[in-house]
């Protein structure tokens, strides 16, 4: 009991998230033992399918720590995919220049939204709501039809499997040996995650972000540049959105208006499940990673189960969200008492 008292609320929320993931995964191992849930690839697929979301949830966590929110991320992902597809397929551009342009687009998007939020003090929700409509609209303006990406270099990036032979192979019914594998997108996502983690925990800028989110007034009085910090956070987030969009495009190889609808909500849910407070000041990108993994595990459960409606994913996420929000408010109350 003594030990637990030493752990503060933030760490405790994170531990709960990680434990929940481990328990869920372990439960999957028991329930779907005969169906091959124990294959390392099932775990790796969580990263392969969610590489884009991991990056975007990291950006969202950062924004939420400042006490803000960004609901334009899903639309920016769609716009990024569409711009990539359009530039490479219709305009015949190379994959590298196309990538550079979309990354710049993300930064500019973040810059504009960040300026409106930090300097003109407009509600982040309203600014990014406008951003959401704008980006989705622009996507449709570029093309209403789906554009398939066939650029050779892009497909090479998308398709280059990295076999993890050290994890061992499994032989399937057809007698084919399958090695575990990941795609380069997974590596990019993990690098981003570690980068943001280091930025938040070990730099002055990172500590300023927490200070701004914790209490904007006292941050101001401490002489911290609140406005610039906020602006930079939205700029970095904009960059991460377009990078996440690029990873998303590597997975789907297409640009389409309807893509990544509701992505922003998945990112917010992952961050909240990972222990980020909507009120700001508290959050951890690794928590958000586990938030994403929990969502992925629930989805995997449902496909392995095979007869349940996939809408149960949403219902389970809703229950988890409620659980974590109640937990958070309990911690907030406990904090007040001290």
């Amino acid at each position: 009991m003594k030990k637990r008292e030493k752990i503060d609320g933030k760490v405790f929320l994170l531990i709960i998230t990680i434990l929940l993931f481990l328990v869920m995964y372990a439960a999957g191992l028991i329930i779907f033992k005969s169906k091959g849930f124990a294959k390392p690839q099932v775990f790796l697929n969580l990263f392969i399918s969610n590489a884009g979301l991991i990056v975007i949830a990291a950006g969202m966590t950062m924004v939420m720590i400042t006490g803000g929110i960004d609901i334009s991320v899903g639309s920016i992902v769609a716009l990024t995919c569409m711009m990539l597809a359009w530039m490479m397929e219709i305009k015949g551009m190379g994959a590298v220049p196309a990538l550079v342009i979309v990354l710049i687009m993300g930064i500019v998007f973040g810059l504009v939204q960040g300026f409106l939020i930090a300097y003109l003090k407009i509600q982040p929700f309203i600014v990014t709501l406008a951003g959401m409509f704008f980006a989705r609209g622009m996507t449709a303006i570029i093309s209403q039809e789906m554009i398939s990406i066939k650029n050779e270099m892009f497909l090479k990036w998308a398709k280059s499997k990295i076999n993890l032979t050290f994890l061992g192979g499994t032989v399937n019914k057809k007698g084919v040996v399958n090695y575990s594998f990941i795609y380069p997108s997974v590596i990019i996502a993990l690098i981003v995650l570690i980068g943001i983690f280091v930025l938040l925990k070990f730099t002055k800028f990172g500590r300023t972000i927490y200070a701004v989110g914790g209490n904007e007034q006292s941050a101001l009085m401490m002489g911290l540049n609140v406005r610039r910090t906020k602006l930079l956070v939205y700029v970095i987030n904009g960059f991460l959105c377009s990078l996440g969009g690029f990873l998303f495009a590597l997975n789907t190889c297409a640009g389409f208006v309807e893509q990544a609808k509701g992505f922003e909500m998945e990112a917010i849910a992952s961050a909240v499940i990972g222990g980020t407070l909507l009120t700001g000041g508290v959050g951890n990108v690794f928590g958000s990673l586990f938030g994403v993994l929990i969502k992925g595990t629930i989805e995997t459960f449902i496909t392995f189960q095979g007869t349940l409606s996939s809408w149960w994913t949403k219902i389970t996420i809703a229950a988890l969200l409620a659980f974590f929000i109640i937990l958070q408010s309990l911690f907030a109350k406990a904090k007040e008492k001290h």
Binding site: I16, L19, L20, L22, V23, M24, Y25, A26, A27, L29, I30, K33, K35, G36, F37, A38, K39, Q41, V42, N45, S49, Q144, E145, M146, S148, I149, K150, A158, K159, G168, V171, N172, K174, G175, V176, N178, Y183, F248, N251, T252, C253, F256, E258, Q259, A260, K261, G296, E299, T300, T303, F304, G306, S309, S310, W311, A319, L320, A322, F323, I326
Partner: protein
């Protein structure tokens, strides 16, 4: 060992409890259960490996064919009929085990489902794709694992055709031709062949094969009819609500619409509601001709009620055709890359007679 199993079970029960109730009191249980859980994780991996090895050693014992089916969603009656056809074909009684996944209209969900099918070591993967593109990587993974993929309904667009074994579905372009041919006949019968005809189209979800095929089919054949004019095309996303909304705006913009082409029945129902609400009439005895696609059961009801003129069939009963292909593949026979299902045109005057014969 017993203890471990026990703690494991507690862990499982706790998870369900946590998921279902979302209660905050479970923290202690979770803390104690988790170390045991992680320990056993390694163990089960080992166990699963040996088990996998034994099952591969004796494949002849199990005749059950496992089929993973990733469905678009449940957006229309047609889709539901399609799902039902699969479910009723791939039953345990027929020697199959079906793993069904609803993608909720999202391609990224389908990619996840297909990846999970591969890990579950299914014998065949059947996909009703949400989109035509973006299948290269995941189908390559299926190919690497040696699992044949059968595409149903919408066609896919991949760089390498060998990524899928066969495609089963409708000839959407032909459906478009059929619709124009019917309209031509109908106008001639009603002595309107020489009058100007104003048409509006409620398109399906932009980019889907059905939308592309039907739009192009109609457009191509309309070139033979200079008196016909396409006023506007707009998407109703295959839903009744959106169909109604778009039709309402069409009725406000254009005063002289003669024909509505709805690229599925659900949008046609929405359009009919919008027309009635605007105080106009439609159907064989009305002012506006309603041409629809799919010919689901409710469309026959609508035709019998005198609201709809014709529905061009889009046969959703893909199950038997897919099963036919799987049986051939099981025997090691070659299969055709493209397999169309049979389809017809059902005008209102035959609706009452046809309705009892319909399966969906």
């Amino acid at each position: 060992m017993k203890k471990r199993v026990l703690s494991f079970l507690t862990a499982a029960v706790m998870t369900t409890a946590m998921i279902l109730s979302g209660c905050s009191g479970s923290q202690t249980a979770a803390t104690t259960a988790a170390p045991a859980a992680t320990e056993t994780k390694a163990e089960t991996t080992e166990a699963a490996k040996t088990e996998a090895a034994t099952t591969t050693a004796a494949p002849a014992e199990k005749k059950e064919i496992v089929v993973g089916f990733s469905q678009v969603g449940a957006e229309s009656d047609w889709r539901t009929a399609n799902t039902e056809s699969m479910k009723s074909t791939f039953t345990e009684a027929n020697g199959y085990k079906l793993i069904f996944d609803d993608a909720q209209q999202k391609q990224e969900n389908q990619l996840k489902a297909v990846r999970n099918f591969i890990q579950q070591d299914v014998d065949y993967i059947v996909i009703a794709p949400v989109t035509e593109t973006g299948w290269d990587t995941v189908l390559q993974e299926a190919k690497d694992a040696g699992i044949p993929v059968i595409i149903v309904d919408r066609m896919i667009n991949v760089s390498d055709d060998s990524l899928y074994t066969a495609w089963v579905g409708s000839n959407f372009l032909q459906e478009g031709y059929d619709a124009v041919a019917w309209l031509d006949d109908y106008l001639k019968k009603n002595n309107k062949a020489d009058s100007d005809i104003n048409i509006v189209t409620l398109q399906g979800t932009i980019g889907s094969s059905a939308q592309i095929g039907r739009t192009n089919g109609v457009e191509e054949k309309m070139k033979d009819h200079p008196k016909w004019k396409m006023l506007e095309r707009q998407t109703g996303e295959f839903t009744q609500a959106k169909g109604q909304e778009v039709m309402e705006s069409f009725l406000k913009t254009y005063k002289d619409i003669n024909v509505v082409i709805a690229e599925n029945d659900n949008m046609a129902f929405g359009a009919i509601d919008a027309i009635k609400a605007a105080g106009k009439t439609c159907g064989p005895k009305g002012d506006i001709i309603i041409i629809s696609f799919d010919a689901v059961s409710a469309a026959f009801d609508s035709m019998i009620a005198g609201d709809m003129n014709v529905s061009v069939e889009c046969n959703p009963l893909h199950g038997p055709r897919v099963a036919e292909i799987i049986q051939k593949l099981e025997k090691g026979e070659k299969v055709d890359k493209i397999a169309y299902v049979k389809e017809g045109v059902f005008p209102a005057d035959t609706a009452a007679a046809e309705k009892p014969k319909r399966q969906y």
